[in-house]
Structure formats: structure tokens, C-alpha cells
């Protein structure tokens, strides 16, 4: 099956890795994924399965690589998919397809919103939406923290304490305007790497 598909890729322009199909598929994702990242992620995963672009293991590994490098994770995932299928041209087709419609619609929605935000009813609506947006961004913070904290917990209470300490210190340093966010991040990375070096993970007891 695999070798048949590889041959088919070379022979036919409508194969699963044709540039047009990559572009068209990601264009569909960029048009349909209202609701932000989670629906985008879902649709990209769906496309990878439908066209056999990546198996589950490679998909998860790509997602992990995307977590630790700069920038928007879903763009990095899209880059890795495009690169695997067709190299540089694949990256251009995939990222272009994803971003062209979604960037345009995002700007349009912002414009539409800006045009009506001075209306009295909009001000009332805003007083409801803004606190909700705040709640949502706090929820995202919690969701980002959970995998980091549960992993540290599995490695022992000391490492959980260090992790919580780094989060808290980073937040306080920013709140007090003590230093630039970038310095805070680099300090966080350095301190964590140094302390984890002295306090080895003891997964045995907690894992059992």
C-alpha cells in the first residue's frame, strides 16, 4: 500500500501530495475553522488522516517539536506537514493555504467590530464580552500550565515546587515591571535547567 502510494505520487498530479491538493485542503481549513485553534487543530489532524500525510506517531512528534520552537504552534505543524510532503514548495502551499483566508477573515472581523463598537448597545455587549475574554485567556494559561505541572508532579514534590516557583516568579517580575519579559523567560529556562540538574526526577515512587 505504501509503495503503491509513493509510485502514485510520482505518476499522478492529483496524488495525496500534489501542491494543489495541499493548498486546497489547507485553504479549506483556513476558511472553516471558526472558533480559533482547537477547531483548526482538529481539521488539520483530519486532513492528515484522510490523505495519509502523516501517521499518528509522526503527527504527535511533529506537534511536540512545534511546542518547543518559536512562534505559533499550528503554523509550525503546518510547516512540518508541507515540508514532509513537498519540501519548500509544500511549505509555501500549506502555510499559504492556511493563512490567506484566516488572516483576511480575522482582519475583516476586527474591522467590522471596530466600526460598531461605539454604538451604545455594543458598549453594553462589550462589558459582557471583555470579562469573558479575560476568563478565556486565564483558562488558556491554566491549560498551558497543566501538562507542565502534572509532569513535574510525577517527578517529585521538589520539582513541582520549582515549577510553581518559576511560574509565580515570572508573573511577579512582570507585574512589578522588574525586567523585560524576554529576560524573565531566559531566566526561567536557565534557573529551571540548573535546579532540575541538582534535583533528579524520581519518577519511581510517584509513578507506582
Amino acid at each position: 500500500m505504501k509503495s503503491f502510494e509513493k509510485t502514485a505520487i510520482k505518476l499522478s498530479s492529483s496524488s495525496p501530495s500534489s501542491l494543489w491538493l495541499i493548498f486546497r485542503t489547507l485553504l479549506g481549513v483556513g476558511l472553516q475553522s471558526f472558533g480559533g485553534g482547537s477547531s483548526t487543530f482538529y481539521l488539520i489532524h483530519e486532513a492528515c488522516r484522510r490523505y495519509d500525510w502523516m501517521d499518528e506517531e509522526e503527527f504527535v512528534r511533529s506537534w511536540a517539536l512545534a511546542q518547543v520552537t518559536p512562534g505559533i504552534n499550528l503554523i509550525k505543524l503546518t510547516i512540518l506537514i508541507g515540508n514532509k510532503l513537498r519540501g519548500a514548495a509544500g511549505i509555501a502551499a500549506a502555510v499559504g493555504g492556511l493563512l490567506l483566508p484566516s488572516v483576511f477573515i480575522t482582519a475583516l472581523m476586527t474591522a467590522g467590530y471596530s466600526a460598531i463598537r461605539s454604538l451604545p448597545i455594543m458598549k453594553a455587549i462589550l462589558k459582557g464580552v471583555l470579562p469573558a475574554a479575560l476568563g478565556l485567556s486565564l483558562a488558556m494559561g491554566v491549560q498551558m500550565a497543566m501538562p507542565l505541572l502534572s509532569r513535574a508532579r510525577g517527578e517529585g514534590w521538589m520539582r513541582l515546587g520549582i515549577s510553581l516557583g518559576v511560574i509565580l516568579t515570572a508573573g511577579l517580575l512582570l507585574a512589578w515591571n522588574a525586567t523585560s519579559p524576554l529576560v524573565v523567560l531566559l531566566l526561567g529556562g536557565g534557573v529551571t535547567a540548573a535546579l532540575f540538574n541538582f534535583i533528579p526526577a524520581h519518577g519511581g515512587r510517584d509513578a507506582s
Binding site: L31, F34, G35, S39, R61, L65, A66, Q67, V68, T69, P70, G71, I72, N73, I75, I79, L80, N83, S102, V103, T106, A107, M109, T110, Y113, P120, A124, I125, K127, G128, V129, L130, P131, A132, A133, L134, G135, L136, S137, L138, A139, M140, G141, A145, V166, I167, A170, G171, L174, S180, L182, V184, L185, L187, G189, G190, T192, A193, F196, N197
Partner: protein, 171 residues
């Protein structure tokens, strides 16, 4: 507004951070400092990013539009597309880097720092987002619903809009 400085600020903010919201603290510091954006602009952009198609990280596009119109949105889109390319370098060296404990620990520390910064910025926005106890209640309900992962984000925001119209629209 200087478009090149604008471009550099957006590029820098996502070049040194991870994730779609990682650039929030840096952009917040720089754009508020320059007087180019207001707290309300940030809240608006974050809300639009949650409902518009594509990655939630496209909230930066919305912010770019609020600060610099279509040119701002375009410049932000280009700036956001460049840093993710570095993932290719990591993918190439993946097998070597994977076994270096210090690399793993450092990147975990970066992520922890991002969480702390994001939380601090969110809480810092509370002053301009929440006007009274009813606003605080809406924020808490939205937080709870988002964490339950049972309600689509777009429905949470729609419900909050209705609540706002009913509570504050009467007077």
C-alpha cells in the same frame, strides 16, 4: 507609526517566545509603551482571535489591524510566518537534541515562564475589563466553562454578549 519598527516588534515578540500567546507579554509591553495600542485593543484582539478561523495565535493579526489597518495586518502576518520556520532546524537535529537533558529542562523552564507571564498579563487586564461584580462573575463563569472544555468558545462569547446587553443595555 513606523511600519518597520512595527514589523520588528511583532517579529521579535514571536521569535523569542513559543505558542500563539507567548508573544502577548512582549507586544503588550512594547505597544502600550509606545502608545500605539490600548488595553481595550488587546482585549478586542484576544476575543477576535478566539472566534476567527485559523490558529488562536492570529489574535496578533487582529491587534496588527487595530494598530496599523490593513498594512498592519499584512506586516503582522509576515512577521508571524517567519519564526515558525525555525522548527525545521529543530526537526533536522531532533534525534541529537532529544537526548540532551539540559535542552529539555531549559525548554520546560521557558514554558513555565510563558505561563507566568501570560497569567500576569491576563490579570493586569482585569482592571479595564471588569467594571463591577457582575463583570467579575462573567469572567469566572467563562473561565469555568472554558476549563470544562464542553462548551465551544464561540458560544461562551455569544452568551457573554447577551449577558452584557441584558445587564448593561437597559440604562
Amino acid at each position: 507609526m513606523n511600519l518597520w519598527l512595527f514589523f520588528w516588534l511583532f517579529l521579535k515578540a514571536s521569535l523569542f517566545t513559543t505558542g500563539g500567546l507567548g508573544n502577548l507579554p512582549l507586544l503588550h509591553r512594547d505597544l502600550i509603551g509606545l502608545g500605539w495600542a490600548s488595553e481595550e485593543d488587546f482585549l478586542t484582539a484576544l476575543a477576535v482571535g478566539q472566534v476567527s478561523p485559523g490558529p488562536t495565535g492570529l489574535w496578533s493579526i487582529s491587534l496588527g489591524f487595530l494598530v496599523g489597518g490593513w498594512a498592519g495586518a499584512g506586516a503582522a502576518a509576515v512577521a508571524l510566518s517567519i519564526p515558525p520556520l525555525l522548527v525545521l532546524a529543530l526537526a533536522a537535529f531532533y534525534h541529537r537534541l532529544e537526548h540532551l537533558q539540559i535542552v529539555q529542562d531549559f525548554s520546560r523552564g521557558l514554558s513555565l515562564g510563558v505561563v507566568g507571564l501570560a497569567a500576569a498579563v491576563s490579570l493586569g487586564l482585569a482592571g479595564s475589563a471588569i467594571s463591577d461584580w457582575r463583570g467579575a462573575a462573567i469572567a469566572l463563569v467563562a473561565l469555568g466553562l472554558a476549563l470544562s472544555k464542553r462548551v465551544p468558545v464561540i458560544l461562551i462569547l455569544a452568551a457573554a454578549a447577551v449577558a452584557g446587553a441584558l445587564i448593561y443595555g437597559g440604562g
